[in-house]
């Protein structure tokens, strides 16, 4: 009616569409410019999945790669043993109880404060003030006192000899040195005023959850890094990180869980990007809780071991980027080159084991014994895509055997809480890795710190294993140590309480212009100092 009268020919719709199109074709031009402006020479654009957070080196809330860039420790752990770092040299008293360090001269923190023995002592005092927080390191129980008789001598007194002492002093935290001026009244347990260390880089800017900027420390005492500036972007998502790399927004992705194998596989034969894989750093495993009435039966645990197809996981989930794991620690780990018979993948054997142990198949496809049904929960960290995939795979595999597995994914914090308190049947875990393995992670098995304690609690030989570990730590005889390690590791292997899956590796994917990408003994240290851009 009226509307029809109103309708006249007007080119408005066409005009509108034209405007939209013109607008959208301008967009890319302008977006491209914005990206080009970001790029600067001498700048490496790195990526991490979360913010650097609190980089206080004496606590545990910061990102380790950033702490490694800013701070240094007394000694370094190299491929062939300990290397001097802030300590030029050291001596151990014949009874193994007194450590005397000669502190390197002329080293200063980036705020100008000298890093002498007094500064080192101030750091140790701050760490020891919060001793209870660090007892996961065995040496904390044995450390009696520290002193600095002069500006270049620092001493540590122990109550007993402790062989992994230098290793624990060399790990990222808590024994990294922060400028005493940055402490709050000589204390660090309630936070610090600034993140100031002696390392090759200093932190210049942080925008929470967006990026952090590091610049080379002009007064660094060691070899100065060739890359002067490092911008670390925060990109939480796997896929987005790879896209960012592909579009040239970042130059390097580096880490254990920063890349999924499918994506990595795509770049195997790429000209633009290179891949690097480290040696095994740690073991991806499932911990079985021996206190669970079903898992208390060693035959069930052994059946689960035989029902786990590690090769399929290595190939199917990881495209062979993580080799299958037969034992709790890889043979390349110190003291772990032991002959242990692996639990081979054999479904028939697994079924036989269960059958013989009296677990009979029920009508609903779930085995049971004396009214106890084989129903187990498998807890994984919901932040990890890989763990979820493996969990779903194993759920089906174990299901074929008559074991009903229910999956539960939890956020990192509650996942860790559950692990610590033993509130699990089966749980994904990753051992501490180099350089903590095997001594520190095994020392921790004796206390309720991680899941291992709860899992092992019901083992009949738990006491013997613990005793062996305790003796290892204070033994100064290399041969005796090896004997004890062999004893403890063999028992743990025979108890079948850990299902090793694969050996985790550090993976790097980077622009092929970037050279010198590698790995060090410490799994969290990104060796930026060795990297450089190829001249075009």
């Amino acid at each position: 009616m009226e509307t029809s009268r109103l309708r006249k020919k007007r080119p408005l719709p066409a005009l509108l569409l034209a405007c939209c199109m013109a607008g959208s074709s301008l967009l890319p031009l302008w977006a491209g410019q914005a990206q080009a402006a970001e790029q600067e020479p001498d700048t490496l654009r790195f990526v991490n999945y979360r913010d650097v957070r609190d980089l206080n080196p004496h606590l545990y809330a910061g990102e380790m790669y950033a702490q490694e860039m800013i701070y240094e420790t007394l000694v370094d752990i190299g491929p062939d043993g300990y290397k001097p770092c802030l300590a030029e040299s050291w001596e151990i008293s014949p009874d193994g109880k007194v450590y005397t360090f000669k502190i390197r001269k002329g080293v200063t923190f980036t705020d100008g404060t000298p890093c002498d023995a007094y500064a080192v002592k101030a750091n140790f005092d701050a760490i020891l003030e919060n001793r209870a927080r660090h007892t996961w390191l065995e040496m904390m129980h044995l450390l009696e006192k520290v002193d600095a008789p002069d500006a270049h001598t620092f001493r540590i007194f122990m109550s007993r000899p402790y062989y992994p002492m230098l290793t624990e002093l060399g790990v990222t935290r808590p024994f990294a040195m922060i400028s005493p001026k940055a402490m709050k009244n000589g204390s660090t347990k309630d936070g610090v005023n600034a993140f100031i260390g002696t390392g090759p880089y200093k932190l210049v800017k942080v925008v929470t959850d967006e990026y952090a900027v590091f610049e080379a420390n002009e007064n660094y005492w060691g070899e100065k890094p060739r890359i002067r500036r490092i911008v670390v972007k925060v990109i939480p998502d796997n896929q987005t990180r790879i896209l960012a790399l592909e579009k040239g927004e970042i130059d390097l992705i580096w880490g254990k869980n920063m890349l999924d194998a499918d994506a990595l596989n795509k770049y195997r034969n790429s000209d633009e990007f290179d891949i690097a894989l480290s040696k095994p750093t740690s073991t991806r495993q499932i911990v079985l809780n021996g206190q669970n009435p079903v898992l208390a039966d060693i035959n069930v645990r052994k059946a689960l071991q035989h029902a786990t197809n590690r090769k399929a996981i290595s190939r199917g989930v990881f495209h062979d980027t993580e080799p299958p794991a037969d034992t709790l620690y890889a043979r390349s780990v110190p003291y772990c080159d032991i002959d242990l018979a692996p639990y081979a993948y054999d479904m028939k054997k697994a079924a036989d084991l269960l059958e013989k142990a009296g677990w009979k198949m029920g009508d609903d496809g779930v085995r049971a014994k004396d009214g106890l049904r084989m129903e187990l929960g498998l807890l994984y960290n919901s932040n990890s895509v890989t763990e979820k995939t493996i969990a779903e795979y194993l759920q089906h595999e174990y299901g074929k055997l008559g074991i009903r597995v229910s999956l539960r994914g939890e956020e990192e914090q509650s996942y860790r809480d559950n692990m610590k308190n033993g509130l699990f049947d089966m749980i994904f875990n990753i051992c501490w890795g180099m350089p903590y393995d095997p001594q520190s992670s095994m020392a921790a098995m004796r206390q309720r710190v991680y899941g291992d304690y709860a899992a092992q609690l019901a083992l009949p030989d738990k006491k013997e294993i613990d005793a062996a570990i305790t003796e290892i730590l204070s033994s100064t005889d290399e041969k005796r140590r090896q004997e004890l390690f062999t004893f403890a590791l063999t028992h743990l292997h025979d108890d079948a309480i850990y299902i090793p899956l694969t050996y985790e590796t550090n993976k790097a994917l980077f622009s092929s212009r970037l050279k010198g990408v590698g790995f060090t003994q410490t799994q969290y240290e990104v060796p930026f100092s060795k990297m450089y851009f190829e001249k075009r």
């Binding site: 967009l27 977006a31 990109i235």
Partner: protein, 313 residues
């Protein structure tokens, strides 16, 4: 007019009380003991029954429920929303304050999209009713209302960012980062408003005053723009204004798809981390925003529309 504003203002008081009460009840329903949680925040290594009782008294948790509610309300009015459970170094207000700007940017640009796209399209659809343009637009409206927002986001990322490589895939930074997520947020609202404006225009076209204007011999264009559009716009602007808090709340899904560091992502992360104070603050924030925008645009509409005033009188 004055009376109406006062009345509306008074009416929001019980509503705000209701919302705050709901938020307070919410945090008091959580299964864990607040005193125990507080101890854990302070990193107390061993938590004993004694310590818990002591902390309860300290935090005033032994007070009656209503006393605690008013205490909490008082703190809220002073912008003291407590401390994050997962990251005790951060206050809830600080967390919200850190993330809110990003969400406001996103919601702001979405609003621009909504206005810039839905007004002309709705207008043209009504004017060119049943032409190819109208049909296409109706198809578009129908399709977008049936599409899950997150899927649209994924498809846009794949098409625009991956295949065509025109815009960044996700994250926060330049204006280019904002374009796709804002469009995704806007999309479902655009279709709602296109339909609203179109129907409004068509209704207005049938009103007597249009016939009268035509009888007076006014030009078609003048009738369309000065009478019909003007009348339709009024109700549409109100509707759009009232949907602003909806827009802010609606960013949750999109922020998670595009890794946009706003309050929506904060909220989802807090749900996974069981960081109740943050969730509580977020719910309170959105509730209050909702009430205020409703109030503001109600009054605006009342001021702009003489018919409403007469009816009340």
């Amino acid at each position: 007019m004055k009376n109406y504003v006062i009345m509306r203002l008074l009416a929001t008081v019980p509503l705000l009380l209701g919302i705050s009460f709901l938020c307070f009840v919410f945090i008091n329903l959580i299964p864990s003991d607040p005193a125990e949680v507080a101890l854990r925040i302070r990193q107390t290594p061993v938590i004993t029954e004694e310590l818990i009782a002591q902390t309860r008294a300290e935090l005033g948790l032994d007070q009656p429920f209503l006393v605690r509610y008013f205490q909490w309300l008082w703190d809220c009015l002073h912008f003291d929303l407590g401390v994050s459970y997962t990251n005790p170094a951060r206050t809830v207000l600080g967390e919200i304050g850190r993330c809110l700007p990003a969400t406001l940017e996103l919601a702001g640009l979405s609003l621009v999209y909504v206005i810039v796209l839905s007004l002309p399209i709705g207008f043209l659809s009504a004017v060119y009713k049943d032409t190819w343009f109208d049909r296409i637009m109706r198809g578009f409206v129908f399709a977008t209302t049936a599409m899950p927002v997150y899927w649209v986001g994924l498809l846009l990322i794949w098409l625009i960012s991956i295949r065509l490589d025109l815009l960044p895939t996700s994250g926060y930074g330049s204006f280019a980062h904002l374009i796709l997520p804002a469009f995704t947020v806007a999309l479902s609202y655009i279709s709602t408003y296109i339909r609203l404006i179109r129907n409004n225009m068509l209704e207005n076209m049938r009103e007597d005053y249009v016939l009268y204007a035509q009888a007076r011999g006014l030009k078609q264009r003048a009738i369309l723009v000065r009478h019909i559009l003007k009348n339709s716009l009024q109700s549409c602007v109100t509707a759009i204004g009232m949907s602003i808090p909806q827009l802010i709340a609606g960013t949750i899904v999109v922020e998670n798809v595009f890794a946009w560091p706003g309050v929506g992502r904060l909220c989802i992360a807090s749900i996974f981390n069981r960081d109740y104070p943050v969730i509580q603050a977020y719910v309170l924030l959105v509730g209050v925003l909702f009430v205020f925008f409703n109030l503001a645009f109600d009054i605006l509409q009342y001021a702009a529309d003489p018919r409403l005033r007469e009816r009340k009188a």
